[in-house]
């Protein structure tokens, strides 16, 4: 930049700023003064923020601001507002029977929406985000139910759990036939093959199905039924269908007979609110496998 020479540009009659770059000079078009004032006002305005909102960090805390604004309390207020908004439908849900909920489309929609959220919060860790289940955790979308798939059955299972120490809960477990020396290894192998044959799965060459059938009749039929259809009173699964909670390969079946099975479903009564249990019941029932 050359030496500052402020002069009047002959062509426009406008003063220059005096700055010159390789012979190019800049016209000085002054900024309006109100613009400058606006700038000062924004500075003053920023001071207002310090006073109104939490701003300056202190040693252990920060300045709190006269509005008492806090993101946490703002969230809680929003949640309260939501609760208020949902209040009437929640009351309706709390007062309705399961059958009434199922027959009222509006209430059903509401219950399913509530149930979806409650399911994600409480059930998804074991049963999967969409109730798809996992090994040892039943798929809630299919049409097989260990403890029954009617609305009332599902509600009871949710409320009191299974094998969770609740006196009203679902009880009954698969004994450990091998570990407790109730069956010999060859008997276990034979009955495992027999069980596979019940649902049309291939058996190992040389499998002793006659022994298996005898072992089944003596030890298993009392719970799983003489024809292997299971018993929902005891939560013993149907062995003749295509659904296997732990797996249908022989090793898995042998492991189950050897060590027993007894998956636990927590009892949610008392932990979840009554309307939430109803909503969950309806939600699980409508995943696809609900029974009338």
């Amino acid at each position: 930049m050359a030496e500052d020479r402020k002069e009047i540009d002959a062509l426009t009659g406008t003063a220059t700023t005096g700055h010159e770059w390789d012979g190019l000079r800049e016209l000085n078009t002054p900024l309006p003064r109100w613009w400058l004032w606006l700038f000062y006002i924004t500075i003053v305005w920023s001071v207002g923020y310090w006073i109104v909102y939490p701003a300056w960090p202190l040693l252990t805390n920060s300045t709190q601001g006269v509005f008492g604004y806090h993101t946490r309390t703002a969230l809680l207020e929003d949640l309260d507002a939501l609760k208020q908004q949902r209040g009437p439908m929640m009351d309706k849900l709390a007062g309705a029977s399961l059958a009434e909920i199922a027959s009222d489309p509006q209430l059903l929609d509401f219950a399913r929406a509530q149930g979806r959220v409650a399911f994600a919060d409480n059930c998804a860790p074991c049963h999967g985000a969409g109730g798809g289940g996992a090994k040892g955790y039943p798929n809630l979308n299919d049409d097989e139910w260990l403890w029954g798939g009617k609305l009332s059955d599902i509600e009871q299972t949710i409320r009191f759990g299974a094998r969770a120490g609740d006196s009203k809960g679902r009880a009954g477990a698969m004994p450990a036939f091998g570990r407790d020396n109730l069956l010999k290894p060859n008997e276990i192998s034979a009955v495992a093959d027999f069980v596979r044959s019940l649902s049309g799965l291939a058996t190992e060459p040389g499998a002793n199905l006659t022994l298996g059938k005898k072992v089944y009749a003596d030890n298993c039929a009392v719970c799983h039924g003489p024809d292997g259809k299971g018993n929902r009173e005891m939560g013993s699964p149907n062995l003749t269908d295509k659904i296997w909670m732990y797996g249908s390969d022989k090793l898995t079946i042998v492991q189950g007979i050897e060590n027993g099975r007894g998956a636990v479903m927590p009892n949610w009564g008392g932990r979840l609110s009554e309307p939430t249990i109803k909503a969950l019941t309806v939600y699980v029932h409508t995943l696809g496998g609900g029974e009338k």
């Binding site: 000085n28 078009t29 979308n141």
Partner: protein, 507 residues
């Protein structure tokens, strides 16, 4: 301000643009200024004089029509039946709908707004290519409201001369009373402007009643307050400062214009050399050339932005044409032809100086292109609006589990479908699935009709979400993914909507 500098190149130095005059007058003259030059300039008060003529009448008419539309449109009724609001133009935020007479827009149709914005921009460009800043001079809300506020100012404080003289004298109680009345009237207009604004967002007659009785929602009062403040400050106080310093359009406009676009132009070929009537007679007697401009400054005095149009094209000029009216009035009195200032081009001035015929070229590459794009975009919008469906279906496949094996070995997939009914009445739909050999579809929670089909009833102007499970019973296992087609059918009208999705299996 570069554009201003370059555009003034053709002009004699005497016609210094108005903006440059913001610098102290004393500095103009060639002498280097003493000490530091100012970086900030105080605002120059502008007292536009009242004027009569063609363009003033056009501006009054535009003002009456545009403000009339703005203030009254919310009260126009449009009967849509019992299931929709009966306000012709309504932005219904709580229910996510926009109503414009017979058109109803859903949030997902916001692309119509995009199309509208594209059209607005192109119409602005086309106006600019045809005749400069038509928008700025006649249609811009800033211009229209400022014009109204000027009218109020002149009504209360008198015309230019009277107003300036009273301001210059020592202020009396009467001066303060006039100023007070002016600001009160301004605030009333501003307040009513804010009031009209909120009426577009709620049922107007109900809201007016609620506002009057203090029953309206708090946010309505807040918005009235905001619009009152902006209208009062922008139209009452900021005025030409908005055009000079705040609005981007003058800058864009200067870059978009070309030499053929009509602009409010001082025909210096006819006007210069300017001199008073008396001096002109003397010069004429001596056989010297004399221009028609008598330097009466009427064009400057009527200008709402304080521009001297004789300085040539100028960023500050909003091209409202009031200087044309002012000049024509003077020229008529002098018995000289009108049109010393007129919609014209610099090109034509040069044509006349060279003795050639002036011309106006309307059809140019840019006007044709703008008009063409406007026609195409407008055509697309009208076509899509006219042929859009009043029903729709969208589908989400279950993410987990992707498929379910049933106890008999069949495969089942779960979907959440949402059905859209844009009609203002209840409609019954059925949904079918094509693409699988042997399927059963079940809509969770919907009781079947006598023929076994499940009807989905969707309320007027609503959507409904339904859970659907599709079971495939085919003997051979389906491939990992099968494309299937969901078909939505209105059982009364037979209208359909389709959506493709997939049926998954283990493969």
């Amino acid at each position: 301000m570069t554009a201003q500098a370059t555009m003034s190149l053709e002009q004699p130095a005497s016609g210094a643009p108005a903006l440059a005059q913001l610098v102290t007058e004393a500095e103009v003259g060639g002498a280097p200024p003493e000490g530091d030059i100012p970086l900030y300039a105080a605002r120059r008060n502008i007292y536009p004089q009242s004027v009569h003529g063609t363009f003033r009448n056009i501006k009054w008419a535009v003002l009456a029509v545009t403000l009339g539309i703005y203030y009254l449109l919310p009260f126009v009724r449009w009967d849509r039946g019992p299931n929709a609001p009966s306000q012709a133009v309504l932005i219904d935020f709580p229910n996510r709908r926009f109503y414009f007479f017979f058109i109803e827009i859903w949030p997902q149709e916001i692309y119509y707004l995009t199309g509208l914005l594209i059209l607005a921009a192109l119409v602005l460009f086309l106006m600019n290519a045809v005749a400069g800043r038509i928008w700025c001079g006649y249609l811009c809300p800033q211009t229209v409201w400022t014009d109204l506020f000027f009218a109020i100012e002149r009504f209360v404080e008198g015309d230019r001369r009277e107003h300036m003289q009273r301001d210059a004298r020592k202020w009396t109680a009467g001066t303060y009373a006039r100023k007070g009345l002016k600001h009160f009237l301004w605030l009333m207009v501003a307040w009513w402007t804010g009031g009209a604004w909120v009426l577009y967002f709620s049922d107007a007659p109900t809201l007016v009643k609620d506002l009057a009785t203090g029953q309206a929602p708090f946010i309505a009062y807040v918005w009235i307050g905001i619009l009152t403040v902006t209208t009062y400050s922008l139209a009452g106080h900021m005025r030409e400062q908005v055009c000079l310093y705040m609005c981007p359009w003058p800058r864009i406009q200067a870059a978009l214009t070309d030499e053929y676009a009509l602009n409010v132009t001082y025909r210096y070929d006819r006007g210069e050399p300017r001199c008073s009537v008396k001096k002109g007679e003397q010069l004429r007697a001596q056989g010297q050339p004399v221009g028609d401009c008598i330097d009466c400054l009427q064009c400057v005095h009527v200008c709402p932005t304080g521009v001297d149009i004789r300085g040539g094209a100028n960023l500050g000029c909003i091209q409202c044409g009031l200087c044309i009216d002012a000049c024509d009035a003077i020229m008529s009195k002098l018995g000289r032809p009108t049109g010393l200032i007129a919609y014209d081009t610099d090109l034509n001035i040069k044509q006349r100086i060279e003795g050639k015929t002036p011309f106006y070229k309307l059809v140019r590459m840019r006007t044709a292109l703008y008009a063409g794009i406007i026609a195409v975009v407008g055509g697309i919008m009208i076509y899509t609006l006219a042929t859009r469906d009043s029903e729709g279906i969208s589908i989400i496949h279950d993410r987990n589990p992707m498929y379910v094996r049933l106890s008999d070995g069949a495969l089942r997939n779960g979907y959440t479908i949402r059905i859209v009914n844009k009609r203002l009445k209840y409609r019954d739909f059925i949904v079918s699935v094509d693409g699988l050999p042997s399927t059963l579809i079940d809509f969770v929670g919907l009781p079947p009709r006598a023929d076994g089909r499940q009807l989905i009833t969707v309320g007027p102007d609503q959507t409904k979400e339904v859970r659907v499970v599709v079971t495939d019973y085919s003997a051979t296992p389906p491939p990992p993914s099968t494309s299937i087609l969901f078909k939505l059918i209105d059982i009364d009208s037979g209208e359909t909507a389709e959506m493709r999705d997939h049926f998954f299996g283990p493969g």
